[in-house]
Subunit: 511 residues, 2 copies
């Protein structure tokens, strides 16, 4: 790199390091709010977080970043940069554009309306009253539509909705998603028919009481099995705490997970710990030499979700995984699960049955919940449906797709926080993540055919090493479609995921 | 206030709010490092903290603050401001001057040398090798002397050392301290002679093993008795966690304490919890209407220390306190302390015996450790002694004052972190805090003569209310000397503290 270009590049990386450090410090303060903070501090904390966010915004929208980026991109030797260097510049440019191309008036209006909408959504959900939520949701959607119109031009996407999707799943389009979701839905519906004709497993065996302390012991076992270290290990870069809703947060050497212990549903913490550990291992496994650089981050929400669902579902609901871990789990929970049968447990945690609530859905029907939300968002931002039609559209789709009769909007269109929080274009990444897991497992099996056998002995090294070598190592070097191709050798395809589901459900349900 | 003055004032308060919010957010991140952080994150954390501190420094030294302050102070109607308003401006000015009047080169040099000195001190202390520490300490003292020379002019103090003391105990001078310390030392030495002629209590009864879990129960009892709320109380504004060295940190509605549980020394956590709770109650008790304002902070290190030592020593080592709390403590620790005798416990925790290590010293001789440090600092910054003479001066003073023979510099001049950390002028505040407690108790007894009787029944309300009405309510409205006068009706005087010690020791040792 020529000296002046190199200097500009270095300055950009220094700025990015500050963003990463400040962002990860904010994450700690947020984590503290969810886990440790004395309740009296809530107002103080929201003021602290608002200030940090304001400082962060000022830093990341400072015109100097724009100038540095422009001078890099226009430099006649820019093309001589390496792939990694160009990607770093590209990611900083993308972030800078997303933060600066919207008028600050609009950004403020969205932030304010978001706060109002979330608040109103909570009340409306408690009262089962969509009419209360509707006017606030209308305003928030309208503001986000304005933003999407602007971002569409900046990002040169085909539709405004695509510009929103691009925030979470870069370069993914609603057209592509529609296509793969049609295939996914068809496959899932065929599979569902086969399952519904079989005898259902007894899921009540999962309701036997297990004290939180015992569930903590199980969680330790699972984290240890997956290779996620927590204190008092002197080399720990993670930790597990309790929150209302499980999440993962952190950066590189400090990535923390949380779970919730329901004493009448120990499986809930089992699978949330596996899920969050999947997220955490990805963040911890990013290349150390890319720390503080734009490429030193997860690729997309979809890829992130593939990592969590791989450990939660593909590994965590497999017969092989429980071969070694089930007796260990019984031991950890002793004597709570003494009478639990391994085979019955396996069938119960893999039970497939349509339901109304997304976050309680099984591995198969979960995707149908997502497809419904994607279709609605797509039509909403294309102006084909209006906010006040949402309940009726929602209920019709739940009837047609899942055969569920929605009794009220709290178990229907108001069940999720996403739309109240302004997260449009986010939902599809959950199902994309599932699709990616199919391709990953396919590829892993081809390259490491013994992995399932090793898993049976409690050895996750082949899985871990494959993920490190084929997913983690690329950080944010590629957009998700390219990463999937790089990691698995094929472009995005639904088939392997459907094959995986078909095989597993077939073996458990007996078809 | 005239409109333009009022606007300037408002702007200053807004800036101060940002400083307070950022400072308290930094405190959370620091607290997390000491209590929760996975060990792998140490480097990441120091970079996060360095960035936050850089942002804070930039914010608080921004020239706009200086301009606003100048325009306030030069305004012809400045004198029409209220006492509180003027104090807010004064405190911002003091802070701004302390942050900006030193050349940034010197500030950076001190920060760097501090890091080196701490690091070297740790090694040298482990190796009992002062020669290793000496060159780094020399550089740090020289740099701080430079800073003190500049600050002396800014603050118009009589000596450079006074300018350093003023950072921790505003407007306190080495001349005043020398005077009160002479009186204090004389009184303590007289008292020590009386004590040494008596039979010593058996302190080995405090070494009986108490598991950390039991000590946690005792800590809960103590915090509850003092009125310090922790989760799961829904109104909690505090919490207790474990660290190597106990400390208090936080702001208003989120003030946290820590302790350490030594299984062979349960009294250590008992008194550290009482001590830190005293600090925490002060911070939590500052006037809510002054939150985010300069006056909404503790007055000085000495006053802060008076609050912690009041609860640790005056209350916490009193016969009255343990009348109700001792059986409750036994109950909390059951069956660990079943055989502990209340009277023997009281005598053991009040045992007075000269020792080498400050942080292990008893209530009486502790002050002599401080007096030695103050005398040395005073001579060091007056150029009367040099860094390489420190061990010899130290050892001589320990022999003369405490009758202790120092065997090596790790139990001598290198025992504390303060000098390695650049905290010169800080030590005297510990003993000043003790002196203030004497006056406070004197005044409390005059105004609420029944407080000791109430304490016997476990009722700390009279103490709490008196402190709220006479100390907490003034926040940082006065310099410590003025606050002491306001709170107790008399200027700083050593007598009440000596009388208190004499009475207590006399009653326990029987003279």
């Amino acid at each position: 790199m020529p000296a002046n270009l190199s200097l500009t590049y270095k300055k950009l990386l220094e700025r990015n390091k500050s963003f990463a450090l400040l962002g990860s410090a904010e994450a700690i303060v947020n984590w503290d709010m969810e886990t440790m903070m004395p309740p009296k501090a809530i107002n103080l904390r929201s003021e602290q977080l608002a200030l940090l966010s304001e400082i962060h915004h000022k830093m990341s929208t400072a015109p100097v970043t724009g100038k540095l980026l422009n001078s890099m991109l226009k430099h006649r030797e820019y093309e001589s940069l390496s792939e990694v260097e160009k990607r770093n510049v590209h990611l900083m440019k993308k972030n800078y554009d997303e933060q600066t191309k919207l008028p600050s008036k609009l950004v403020t209006a969205i932030a304010k309306q978001q706060a109002i909408s979330i608040n109103t959504w909570k009340k409306a959900k408690a009262q089962k009253n969509f009419a209360l939520f509707k006017p606030e949701l209308e305003k928030l959607v309208a503001l986000n539509k304005q933003a999407a119109d602007i971002l569409m031009k900046v990002k040169q996407t085909k539709t405004p909705y695509d510009a929103l999707i691009d925030i979470y799943e870069p370069k993914m389009s609603s057209q592509t998603i529609t296509k793969v979701f049609v295939e996914l839905q068809q496959g899932l519906e065929d599979l569902l028919k086969k399952i519904e004709s079989q005898k259902q497993p007894d899921v009540t065996i999962l309701q036997q009481p297990v004290a939180a302390e015992k569930q903590k012991e199980i969680a330790k076992l699972l984290m240890q099995t997956l290779g996620y270290e927590t204190p008092p290990s002197p080399t720990a870069g993670g930790r597990l705490d309790e929150t209302e809703h499980p999440f993962t947060t952190g950066y590189y050497d400090d990535v923390r997970i949380t779970t919730h212990y329901h004493t009448d549903n120990f499986a809930s913490s089992v699978f949330s710990v596996l899920h969050e550990t999947g997220h955490a291992l990805y963040e911890q496994g990013l290349p150390q030499e890319w720390k503080y650089r734009p490429v030193g981050s997860g690729c997309s929400m979809g890829i992130h979700e593939s990592q969590s669902r791989l450990y939660e579902n593909i590994i965590g609901r497999s017969r092989e995984f429980w071969t070694t871990v089930f007796p260990q789990m019984k031991n950890s929970a002793n004597p709570s699960l003494a009478n639990l049968d391994q085979e019955k447990f396996l069938r119960a945690v893999n039970a497939v049955k349509p339901s109304k609530i997304r976050i309680e859905a099984d591995e198969v029907t979960y995707n149908l919940h997502i497809i419904i939300r994607f279709q609605i968002e797509n039509d909403l931002f294309a102006g084909k449906i209006k906010v006040d039609e949402l309940p009726q559209v929602w209920n019709q789709k739940y009837k047609d797709t899942l055969g569920m009769k929605i009794e009220n909007d709290s178990e229907g269109v108001m069940q999720d926080t996403h739309w109240a929080s302004g997260l449009y274009g986010y939902f599809p990444t959950y199902a994309l993540g599932n699709i990616y897991t199919g391709q990953i497992i396919n590829s892993l099996t081809k390259q490491e055919p013994t992995w399932r056998g090793e898993l049976e002995t409690g050895n996750l090294t082949p899985v871990r090493e494959w993920l490190a070598a084929n997913v983690y190592r690329y950080g944010n070097l590629y957009d998700p479609a390219d990463l999937v191709k790089k990691a698995t050798g094929t472009p995005m395809t639904v088939k392997p995921y459907l094959v995986y589901l078909e095989e597993k459900c077939g073996s458990l349900y007996g078809f």
